[in-house]
Amino acid sequence: MNEQTIIAMVSILGAAFTMAVGALGAAIGESRIGAAAMDALARQPDEASSITRTLMISLAMVESTAIFCLVIALVFLFANPFKAVGS
């Protein structure tokens, strides 16, 4: 098992772990946002447009952490700076 194999192995494991933890955190956060927005909608249906807009913004904000994890996982897999060129 040479050095490049170890680097590839660790990169794949790291990408999988990054996606798992990142998706977990974003999913918990988004579920809480969705539940709170439904609660607010049930209490004040008149404010639906404003609540929906704020909901979208908050969802996008929370989702971006998961997207950062995805980008980092893709860097591990496809643009790894420690991998030798041509292998």
Binding site: M56, I57, A60, M61, I67, L70, V71
Partner: protein
């Protein structure tokens, strides 16, 4: 598994010293198409003000107007122009990914960074135009001068987040469809392509809303109408 391009892309042709990539070609084509469509709609709506197409055009424009004025608290025609152009361009780019053989320009980090940098520079431009240079700079020391570094970090991080959010969403959707096609074949990725339609429009909406919120925070501290 041959078509996986995440970062960077091959150069099609050299135009003098300037390298031309596929993203530049597609985004220029989309901009030209949008300009032609907008000019055509404008002329058509002027000739036939009662037609269905003219009404739909007015509905879109009025929707963008109300979007901005609800966030900022007062009508801001210049901000509506910027946010509306961002929304229409990003939505067209995202939806162009559904055409066969077209890679959406927003799936390239260069395009999304350029759009985020436009917003990054639009914030001080709108802020200075609205409050003057002293008033805008005082915003950085507003609650407490100790928070000045945090304001600077937030300016940079939200620009980074804006570009990576759009890039990650569109690129991952495109990559998912490509992977499914290479794994399974013909009709299987269709539900994901339908999801891409939704996500493309939603991300364009979110980009426009977030840039409006950022710019609105820079200009809205004065008198509220």
């Amino acid at each position: 598994m041959t078509d996986i391009r995440i970062f960077g892309e091959p150069i099609l042709v050299y135009f003098g010293p300037v390298p031309v990539t596929e993203t530049m070609v597609t985004s220029t084509a989309i901009s030209a198409a949008l300009l032609v469509i907008a000019a055509g709609l404008r002329g058509y709506a002027r000739l036939h003000p009662q037609s269905t197409i003219a009404t739909m055009t007015r509905m879109v424009v009025r929707w963008l107007d109300s979007l901005v004025s609800e966030i900022v608290g007062r009508p801001e025609p210049k901000l509506t122009l910027l946010a509306g152009s961002l929304f229409v361009f990003i939505a067209a780019c995202n939806l162009a990914g559904q055409l066969p053989g077209v890679r959406p320009p927003t799936a390239s980090l260069a395009t999304t960074s350029a759009l985020a940098i436009i917003v990054f520079f639009a914030v001080p431009v709108f802020g200075i135009a609205s409050q003057g240079i002293g008033g805008y700079l005082m915003e950085y020391f507003r609650p407490n001068p100790l928070l000045f570094p945090l304001h600077l970090v937030s300016e940079l991080s939200r620009t980074l987040a804006l570009s990576f959010r759009l890039f990650g969403n569109i690129m991952s959707g495109h990559l998912l469809v490509a992977l499914l096609i290479s794994l399974s074949g013909f009709l299987v990725p269709m539900p994901f392509m339908a999801l891409d339609l939704l996500i493309g429009l939603l991300q364009a909406y979110i980009f426009a809303i977030l840039s409006t919120v950022f710019i609105g925070a820079a200009i809205g501290q004065g008198e509220k109408a």
